[in-house]
Subunit: 480 residues, 4 copies
């Protein structure tokens, strides 16, 4: 149980994408195998976090917890899930946005407080956590981890003179920023979403009764649950032996759903807050084609994140779609890095250009976003090596110019290429014949009259909730 | 080091596909990091075998070997490849076709014999191994594994009075069946292909000198080697300090390249024996569309194996292509199986239908082949759950009706649904509205005047090399 | 990170001894490798706890922590201790007395509170922890583990308006029971001993400056420190850049050093609170010989715990000492248990009688204590099998009749054979020809005019600090 | 499965002792749990080899094998021994004497040959293995490991035209050097001892029928078998459904039992070839006292190997015996080494002087042997630090001046301090006040009229079997 030091496998991540955040899952289903349902639910949410995974199960009397660093199947490999009997469970997959990559920061947290036992799993990021933590420590709280989540836990404990729901409501008055929470007591399951509804959270029903909540609807599908609705901004759902009750925990504010979920994070088969992810991505590609029509022979995606948009581009432009880059499906986290002798092979290990398809062609290459630009320039070079005549790089999102404070680990602004350099210079740096970002307007039009319901801060700097001083963003850690 | 017992994770394999066989890789490149090149080469060949991996390195004086059960990155995780210095190396990824799934059967084999040290890695399957092994044991040989490869090793040792090349030539007279071999001595690298050229094997060149041999050209791409040519039927390539020499080890027989490499096994970005895999698959889809034109709203693939053919079908039919089934990319080998409570979730964990795309539509679902039919019937049920109106299942290969004895683990004939039931009954069993296999003629036409250069035994029973008695096929094991 | 469930390897412990408790270690030595010194110190204290181990290091700015389940070398195997740079460190080895055997209960605890960061390691057991925890939760504290230690942590945090030393002093007013603590801040090391001084704690000096505190003096020897003195009852030692300062944290009460440390727990090469452990044990044997003189041919120990006393018995009686039972030094924690077929082999795997030495002899077998009696009866049977004529079992402690509430895991009273049955019945049950316990008076006389300085509650029921209701003793857990 | 490279944990061994060799175990007992009996038997033999362990089980039809690197409990931890059903089994623990420390060299070997399947485990070392291997490879044998054992396997296979017993007899004509073998076929168990009977091997009987063979009698005790007799020089024991049969495989030569078994290797509770190990060691001490009477206050052993001799010295001299050095029982293989800062702590981690016992005293320190002298000089320094006035080092064996070629890994002669320097210089180097080796004559007298039955080559250079050229001793490896 390491509590500090460098995140493991740090160098093995492909650095040119915003990092995934977290996924949460909860199920209340007496008579069902809730631990196993949660295991499969987390499996479906694995793309939202690959650093740690955990499940807590309630059986009416107590909570049992198992969590560790690693992918869902790694963490639970060899575990006898049948030992985790209960009627309700919550689960979490994590990619660290705050707090070091460390076992002590793995979730769910399970703790004992005046109200009994409580388990909690959190997706999102608070913006006022430093102030809240200071307030709590000044009156005697202690913190063993560097997560936002432990702050929420302590706030709930402080407010626990009456019911848990009321404690959560009081807590919501304190919390600023993004939080989609699932809570587990000995006898009930709660789901909570912040008043802006930054991060997704939806509710489903199981065939023979029972409810499921999850970050994305694909997890409902996986466990055989029917989607019912999204959890509303500021809503508290409580599920127990009396069934499902809802209350407004705090007044909703303007919706600010993370738009990057649609661009990159969410699974294409999920729908959230009214939109199907795959459809949105396809439409981004169509709009790209209209905004940036080029003479070309092929449209190719950067798999997998650019595939849907590339297909949209091809449809709208009439240019044939081809899979010109073959992805190695076995690239994992324990990959040995190339040394000096092979320094140019890095991207090629992951993506191999199909020369047959590409040689002599003019190509539109579609990706979802450009963060630091390093991978893109290698891809362009690789395409040229494969005999491509022209490369036009089309991105299905506007330029990322600001950091996110609501649960996504974009690089800081000094590393964001679009924050530092004009378009033409970027194009030259990556040696593309053309470079086009989807316009902000083009992106928003996809959502029609719902266009104002999204957080676009990373493109516009228009932060729905006040952000901390730059110097402290993402810097708090137990070690500081 | 387990030498017997049930293969691990047996139940975790999706049982409805022919099993991948093995992949081999070899490099001769003094001055380069040959161990690391082999590591990356095996990475690119990982789809050919996920049970064990190994690398042997020669430094002019000795051979060093490291191998274990697991994926390439698992086997070498934490290994310091820099310790494996040398000028030549061979590597192997394995999916057991003969011999139990056991560390003792992992390859390469490295052994000491009268000629010094020798490493050997094998892709393929011998048909006369029982007779050869009996002949060898009767004159004093011992066998520690149940692999064909150890038989080849012992034959070479018996013929080693003169040069290794001559020993290999004598050995080729004895061997019947499929073998693509790479051999490593202290000072040289050899590549050998059987006279029918069942399994692929190609040669590439490195920029600053040095040669690479690999099962598929995608491995050449990955390590930055230029494709030179395929190894010829019956050819022995020898690479040492004097460069590359070729000799005809045995008279070539009629070519019998495994046609299933093009249908399912090989990576789409590989080209082998004159044909690009991706193009062949696309063309299969186009021919499917012409052979079986249906009224439908969508063409969807069963990802990833049906993707290229589905795209071809869409092109030829004009019916829009959609990714209607979302694949969970994190499904791995250590997956905990659903229990009784969730027995219908098995396929859904791997593939999730996108309801938005599918609901109310008539769908052509394209897959590469139908072996036992169990997965297909679940997929059809899942599509119907998602509101699909009609499902037409199109397969880009003819019915698989016979077992393979040349290195592929198809089920035995009693389990092959097409060997047991007429088309219409299969259609009814899987509850599809239509079912169509690509015709044998349609398949062969793709290869034009080269149509007779392929082994089609699994479709036709036309075995290019006499096969063993049914009772002994694939049954030898150390335990027997 | 398992937080509940059955302790692992529970069945593999030999159940007939009181369980070891915990060991603590601390070092303040700028310029030295404090992590490694702590590692070796814990190594020397390994006999005090084999379930988990941990080290926290302070570098003036922050605390780093590593801990896990397992023996010291297992926990730190493959860890690069050189990464843990600092000027002070604390360490802990644990055998769970309260709290489940679980990673979440491993120590040290490291947490952030109003005063900065604090690390804490604890040996002992509080008797009023349930009341303290209730008081804390009622005012908003949360508990993630089931250890006493987390209660101490929260109390300190509540009292942290002024200095840490004052917070510890306030905390000592609340705490009842046994505690030897080491605390680590960014810049200082503290050592605290309860006012009865139940558990040992001593201070040593390093050659070039620097201080060490440890549960036993053998740990000072191991790291090359000179013993200075024992920490006094109720004393707080503070070591920082200004050197060592001492203050009386709370008024000392009557000394109540655990007498079982001398009988069984402590290493023979330690001296604590004025007495050398080996000498005390030897003297126990001498007194046994005088209290229970028998006609016998040999004195044999039950190794290793009975060895020193057996030697004393031999000296005083003149009967030759022999090692009649050979101990297998490789018995470890991962031992596969005998099944029905071999149910009588259990003790024999650990101890083998040397027939040559024993056959035909009358034997005095010396052990340190008798808890449940199960092992003793097997040993007697084994000796008789080896041809022993007479077996006299002599125990170097009085009958254990009461549970310990101060940090030792004796069985509960229903399982203590001496609490349930008269001496003669016990003798018959274990089938010995004679059975003798060292008398209480004989034991105390060893300590001369210090005889009243010890806790003898497990023999006498004379508890120096009020004990909790029987029903709650050792029963609190996070799961309850 | 590493086949080459440096032995793991090489540096963690305390280098100043001859290395243990191997232990073998076999059981034939239909109806009993033979795998588990073998597991416990290997446990009792663990002191003979800690690098790898393995068990092969025969069920009348086939052999199952499991082996790996590590201690017996580590190798079989988590294994379900109940899966290894059978009526006979063999096992092996190994410390590499020839062959690298590598999984490929772990034993038993299990192989298929003309006669069916055969398992083989070997304790000892052949002196003509290079010639035998050359002869075999020249006629077509291949070797996958660098062990002597694979050579024996191949010889047996070559001679297998008739029965296995006859093949073994022919093989014994070829083999020179030391070998105690257990062999396992589908239906029988064999035990074989070389004509000099270098290494121990004994036979025992189980209560309800069934036989056990083992390197040492302590393993018989552990599994509840009664010792019957030692296997005779050149004898072949065959156990099958017809019971036990014995035949003289080869004419016995002069007995040459390894005398170092009695000095250091064997467990004290074993008796072998007519002598109880503990008694021999005690007598060595008595003779030491007579040969080297000194004025001293205490006799202390270097635990554990010097304990029995120290006790003998004390008895004969009348000087009190004390345990002046406390051994840390938890020192294991995964121990992190001290760095420069703590370079003098090395021995202290393992052995701690008890100052109370030692301070101001004149001490006789008894150890079994002196190989390189490095540890002894540290021990003497440590004793002086603890206030010892005089240190007389007494060794219960004569000076080790020659290498062993029969299965023990003494250092080579250049490293043997007694081969390089005169006694007085050694005494000065280790800074002892006196140094005495047991005389050759004194050692041999212990064995009375059996004094010529032992191999004393390491003391005398009188090798019973011709040894290989120095340059090749112990140097063959697969890599050479």
């Amino acid at each position: 149980m390491r509590q500090s030091g460098a995140p493991r496998d740090e160098k093995q991540r492909f650095p040119d994408k915003p990092k995934e955040e977290c996924g949460v899952f909860g199920v209340y289903a007496p008579g069902r195998d809730v631990a196993r349902l949660t295991y499969y639910g987390l499996y479906a949410l694995q793309h939202r976090g690959q650093e740690s995974a955990g499940i807590a199960v309630a059986d009416g009397r107590r909570l049992q917890l198992y969590k560790d660093m690693g992918l869902v199947p790694e963490v639970f490999h060899g575990r006898d899930l049948d030992q985790f009997k209960g009627h309700a469970a919550i689960g979490h997959v994590r990619y660290s946005t705050t707090g070091a990559s460390s076992p002590i920061n793995a979730q769910p947290l399970v703790f004992r407080y005046a109200g009994g036992m409580l388990g909690l799993a959190h997706n999102g990021n608070l913006t006022n956590v430093t102030a809240l933590r200071a307030r709590l420590t000044s009156t005697g709280s202690v913190f063993q981890s560097s997560t936002d989540t432990e702050v929420i836990v302590n706030l709930i404990a402080r407010y626990s003179q009456t019911s848990l729901e009321e404690a959560v409501m009081k807590c919501m008055i304190d919390l600023q920023g993004a939080y989609s929470l699932v809570l587990l007591t000995e006898r009930s399951l709660l789901a909570v979403r912040d008043p802006h509804a930054f991060r997704p959270l939806c509710l489903g029903g199981l065939e023979n009764g029972g409810y499921v909540v999850a970050s994305e609807s694909c997890a409902l599908d996986t466990v055989g649950a029917q989607w019912i609705r999204d959890v509303a901004p500021g809503e508290i759902l409580m599920i127990d032996e009396n069934g499902l009750t809802s209350r407004q925990g705090i007044m909703p504010r303007r919706r600010a759903h993370c738009i990057f979920e649609y661009i990159y994070f969410a699974r294409p088969d999920s729908h959230m807050d009214g939109f199907n992810v795959n459809r949105v991505r396809r439409e981004m590609g169509r709009r790209l084609a209209r905004e940036y029509p080029v003479e070309a022979d092929l449209v190719i995606p950067v798999p997998d994140s650019g595939t849907a948009a590339a297909r949209g581009y091809a449809e709208a432009s009439g240019i044939p779609f081809e899979e010109g880059l073959m992805k190695n499906r076995y690239i994992g986290r324990t990959f040995i890095q190339p040394n000096q002798d092979m320094r140019d092979l890095g991207v090629r290990l992951k993506l191999n250009p199909i020369r047959d398809v590409l040689c002599g062609r003019r190509v539109v290459m579609v990706d979802d976003s450009l963060v630091r630009g390093t991978t893109s320039s290698k891809l362009v070079a690789m395409l040229r090596d494969a005999g491509v005549q022209e490369v036009h790089l089309c991105l299905s999102s506007p330029p990322v110019v600001r950091s996110c404070y609501y649960g996504i680990d974009t690089s800081n602004e000094a590393e964001l290429i679009a924050a530092q350099k004009p378009l033409e210079e970027i194009r030259r740096l990556i040696n593309a014949d053309g470079l086009h970002y989807l316009s902000m307007e083009g992106l928003l039009e996809i959502f029609g009259d719902r266009r104002d319901d999204f957080c676009t801060a990373c493109f516009t700097g228009d932060y729905p909730v006040a952000v901390p001083e730059p110097s402290t963003a993402g810097k708090f850690s137990l070690e500081s």
